[in-house]
Every structure is written in structure tokens, then in C-alpha cells.
Point group: none
Chain length 225, copies 2
Amino acid sequence: MEKNKYHILVVDDDDKIKNLIKQFLIEKGFIVSTASNANEAKEKIDIFEFNLLVLDVMMPGQSGYELTKELKQSRNIPIILLTAKGEVENRIHGLELGADDYLGKPFEPKELLLRINNIIKANIKQNISLKSKIGIAELDLNRMTIKLNQKIKKINSSEKKVLLKMLASPGKIFSRNEIGKISEISQERSIDVMITRLRKKIEEDPKNPKFLQTVRGSGYVLWIK
Amino acid sequence: MEKNKYHILVVDDDDKIKNLIKQFLIEKGFIVSTASNANEAKEKIDIFEFNLLVLDVMMPGQSGYELTKELKQSRNIPIILLTAKGEVENRIHGLELGADDYLGKPFEPKELLLRINNIIKANIKQNISLKSKIGIAELDLNRMTIKLNQKIKKINSSEKKVLLKMLASPGKIFSRNEIGKISEISQERSIDVMITRLRKKIEEDPKNPKFLQTVRGSGYVLWIK
DNA sequence: ATTTGTTGTTAAAATATGTCAATATATCTG
DNA sequence: CAGATATATTGACATATTTTAACAACAAAT
């Protein structure tokens, strides 16, 4: 695995721990940025495209939980939470908010590495982050293109956001409301239109969609094969 | 989420723990089978298509690690390992062998449930489909389609709900009242109409139904072969 | 500056679905 | 068998929902 492609953001108000983690991960071949609180983290997230966040829950200002919740609403960046030891309930709380994993402090660096590799593997396996396929359509969400039958079509950021979320849960029905939040499109009809346009890009026969289907009365669902 | 479609195999030589887990998961809506050792587990795996394994590492005979390694070589069934508390190295070992997650004993049942849901979300959704057959008709309740003699017909959500319930109990007579509740159709005649439409989708000769039959005075029955 | 393309919105057209009614068919009872 | 009752079928309808096409604002390109 080409680890050196992965950019990780470590967020912890404790400088000592933060730098320890940073140093360890750099040694393991990752690109590492750090932040000391939620606001700083958000600034960096807006600038860089991180592949993973390592997030302490106990921080002054916005807590790791709150940040997790906020971030997971708009993007599907993987998050590992660092919690105080033994706080089972809190850990569960984190997972419910959308965190991908957690680690109780103190932890073995090796264990953190395994969690990171696991999550990266899982994401690649799910084809969420990089390249993926829907049927015979080849998506490259980084380049924001879809290749279908030799033809390359561009997608816009709304479409990308929606695809990202729907690809993370193939088979899940997404209500128009959800899709609206994801894409920041406010009008219901507009969402329908976006779906129609998306179908023209991923479906061989857009009028009889096999992958991006309507669930009357509920919303839309994506199948990947 | 329609959890009740997920079939989990719990493998532990300690009957007490095994049954505790089983009971808990059944309450949560899963279908649960158990085995007391690796051999028994493998026998059942050959028969049923489990969606997930919960596997104790410490067992007489083949250990959970060895079983994990063996199984992961031939199939990619998700596995959660149960390890003795604090054995960080061993846990890591398990993950390296391909396990999807682990839990240290003793654990909170709620935590196990979260791990399971997490894994199901990540791994299974895209592979699982509520596929079944009625006679020669091939149903895909997820995609809401029925394929009969090469022709693909769509069903709506009411029809899906009714089929789901009736498929769960082939041979059971469903009164119009029940069907009405299931499908949220209030008028008796409307139910008849729905049955008629459904027959056109699953029966080769809808006028002489073999599978979706009327029980005069009582309701309808579904046979699957 | 003009053209070309993109994107969210809107309104009209098309489709799906539960209901109803009129008629046909099946099943039971005596 | 006749009559009574239950169920089936079909088409029409109203309503809700979805799709399509046209539009306007804006951005990008020439």
C-alpha cells in the first residue's frame, strides 16, 4: 500500500501527545498535519483534503464529539476518536455520531496504526475515496469525471457529494431531504433534476435506471452492481 | 433497517457466554446460530450463508485465529473476534489475519451491537439483496423487481411489504385485515386489486394462480414452490 | 464582448397508485 | 341445481409523485 499518499490530520490540545502521534505516523510514511482545537481543524479541513482524522474528544471549545457530528453531516471523511480509557458509553456515543473507530487512551501506537490501515483499507475496498465503479461506469471523484462507454462526462460538486454519500451505503434509501442537505440544494424538484442528470452520466439507459433508482414516496437508492 | 434478515453465527465454547450473546442478538432482531468449536462452525458455514461471525479466540481445538485465517482465505465473511481483555498484541494479530474487528472480554452487549451494525453497514449492504424465488419468478425485494420469463416487472412498496411478510411464512393464511395493515391499504376491494396485480407479476398463469392463492372466507396464502 | 456551457429553479407533462364501480366468475348451502 | 354470497377482473378516476423540458442567472471560454 502506498501509505505516503495519505494525509492525516491529528487534532489534540495536548501538544505532547499530538506531536508523539505526528512523529510516529510520519515515520510510518503518512503525511501529517496537526491542529489544537476544533476551529483550527476546520480551517485546515477546508484547505486540504485529508484522508483521515485522528480526533481527541476532550478539547477546550468544541469537543471531538461535536466536531465529528458537524463534519459527518457534510462530508464522509473517516474519523478515529481518542477517548479517555474505560468510557464505554462515550465511545459508543462517538460511533453513533458517525466516527469510524475509537481508541482509549493510553494506547499502543501500533494499535493506532492498525486502526488507520484498517479504515483506509475499508474505504478503498468500498471505493469511497478514490476510484469506483457503478455498473460499468467508472467514477473518478477526485477528477470529478465519469467514464461510460468510452465517453467521459464531468460531474459538479453537488453531484460528487451525493455520489460520495450514496456510495458509502449502497442500497440505502436516501430521502430528498437527506440529499438536499448533502448537496445543499433546497428545492425538491431541483433534486429530481440533479438525479436525472446524474443518471445520464452513470446509466446506459437513463430512462430505465438500473443503479440510481427512484423509490416512490421515499427518495432514491443507489446500487453499485 | 431490516435487521431480521441478517444471519449471525456465534462461536464460543463457553455455553453461558454463547447463549447470552445469542439471546441478546435475537432480541435485537437477528437470526442467530451457534457453534461450540471450529469444526462445528465450519459445518454450519457450509450449510448456511451467514452474514457475520462472532468468534471467540480461545477455544479447544482450532483457535479463533486459525479459523479466521482459514475462512478468510476462501471467503470474505465478516468476522468479529472476542479476545481476553488486555491482550493488545493478540488483538492486533487477529486483525492482521483478516478479522474485521475485535472486542475484549468482558464487553458491553451494546458495544457488540454497534460493532455488528458498523460492519454490516460497511460490508454487507452492497452484497446482500433480498433475493428469493416464488416458483420460477425471481424476486429482488431490494431493487423492487420481479423477473419472470425474462421479463422484469417492478413492484411498489405496498407489494413489497406484503411479499416480505408472506415470504416469511409461506403457507400461512393472511386475512385481508392483516394484509391491509401490512400494506396500509384500507379498502378490502383495493386489496383484491393489489393481489390481482401481484399475480400478474409472479404467476405464469395469473388466472389460475399456483402460488398466491385465495382462501375463500379467510384471505390469501402464498406458496413458494 | 460574444458565445458557449453549467446549474438551480420552475411549470407542464407523464406516470404510479389506491379507490371505486360494473360486471364476471367461483364457491357454498340447501 | 338454484340462489346466495364471496371473490376476480377490468377500466376509469383522482390524487400524489416523478420526469421532462424550458428558462434564467451565472461562469467560462474564445
